[in-house]
């Protein structure tokens, strides 16, 4: 191999740079997983603590649901959602979701910050007033 030492040195430098982020994080405390809270006064009052759909569904699909809701309300003028259980809800982020989940910081931001997504809901929709 011509210039063998140069090639090997190059490979070592490349591996060093490529694996740096992993090596740098070894032994460091990882970012704690998010713990969204649902302990708002409104939810505490409920006899059966349930959202409009099942927890797993809300966890994975809430963004799709909100997207469908806004099209339904703004563009089609249909404002009532019938859940799989047959209950009726007013489709409104500000007036339905946030009435129960009045703790935006601990409910929305907790996970959104963890996964580094920045939904722009709150540029227009008014978030509930929280202390602190």
């Amino acid at each position: 191999m011509y210039d063998g030492w140069k090639v090997i040195l190059g490979i070592i430098i490349f591996l060093g740079i490529a694996t740096f982020p992993i090596l740098y994080d070894i032994g460091k405390a990882s970012v704690p997983p998010p713990e969204p809270k649902i302990d708002t006064p409104e939810i505490q009052k409920m006899a059966e603590k349930k959202c409009i759909e099942s927890k797993s569904f809300m966890k994975t699909e809430h963004m799709v649901m909100l997207d469908n809701w806004r099209d339904s309300v703004v563009r089609e003028g249909n404002r009532i959602y019938i859940s799989t259980e047959g209950k009726e809800y007013d489709m409104s982020l500000q007036n339905t979701c946030m009435k129960c989940h009045s703790n935006k910081k601990k409910f929305c931001d907790e996970c959104h910050n963890y996964v580094a997504v920045k939904p722009y809901c709150w540029d227009c929709h008014i978030e509930p007033k929280e202390e602190g």
Partner: protein, 258 residues
């Protein structure tokens, strides 16, 4: 194993049909939760074919007009920006020669010349703003209301150029600091979108008339122009009315009794 072209095409065609059939059968038999979910209109909602308004200037005084403007701007979180170049307005007052250009004359009565006229979005039947919107953020609903979908507005301001009535305002800056008292039931807007009167679609949806109509002491008459039996049509039959810039062919749904 050998296969000729004819045989190959037969198998390929059959598998495409079978595949497509299975796919649609799957979708019909097992709809996702969103396809299966049901939405409804509020049964109390006011339903019309073409909402319109008559503004009876004989019954309106400055105090009532101010009430109309104030209630609208308060419930819809319209910011109060003093700088005229950046101001936001949904409903406001205008002089006769500005509201009805071309209809003023040298010798018209001082009273009408000086009188403020209440103006708002005309909810045109042939809205030029809707035609120019590149994202369909502004669109005409089935009941004739020219609506804004703030989620889609990209702030290009084509609609502002197209509207002959100046009914639209652009948010040059974040409006939040200019809102004195937020109505928590209604959203605000953000920097970079266009806004205007929406004929209180959110109130119609729960069976209420627009807020300005409610506080006008009967000077504003709201109703369905497509329904010959409606009160608004009766008022239009009984009075001579004028519309703003009707010669432009936008067919406004707002009528003025002078």
């Amino acid at each position: 194993m050998s296969i000729d072209r004819r045989e190959f095409l037969k198998i390929a065609g059959a598998s495409v049909i079978a595949g497509l059939g299975c796919l649609s059968a799957f979708e019909i038999l097992l709809p996702g939760q969103f396809e299966a979910s049901q939405v409804l209109r509020n049964p109390k909602a006011l339903v019309g074919k073409r909402w319109g308004m008559v503004i009876d200037m004989k019954k309106l005084n400055e105090e009532t007009m101010k009430k109309c403007v104030d209630i609208c701007h308060r419930i819809h979180n319209v910011p109060d920006i003093k700088n005229l170049k950046e101001e936001i307005k949904w409903i406001w007052t205008e002089t006769f020669e500005h509201a009805f250009p071309g209809q003023e004359s040298e010798y018209m009565s001082e009273e009408i010349k000086e009188m403020p006229f209440l103006v708002l979005c005309n909810q045109c039947d042939n809205p030029p703003c809707v035609r120019v919107c590149p994202t369909k953020a502004t669109f005409k609903r089935e009941d004739g209301i020219v609506m804004m979908d703030m989620h889609r507005c990209i702030g290009c301001r084509f609609c502002m150029a197209a509207c002959p009535f100046g009914a639209r305002s652009f948010n040059w800056r974040d409006p939040r600091p200019f809102i004195k008292e937020e109505n928590m039931e209604y959203p605000t807007r953000m920097k970079g979108v266009v806004e205007k009167c929406t004929f209180c679609y959110e109130r119609l949806a729960v069976g209420l008339k627009p807020a300005c109509v409610e506080v006008s002491n009967g000077a504003l008459i709201f109703g369905d122009l497509a329904d010959p039996e409606s009160e608004i049509r009766r008022v239009l039959r009984e009075h001579y009315t004028i519309r703003r810039k009707s010669e432009l062919g936008t067919n406004p749904s707002l009528y003025y009794i002078i």
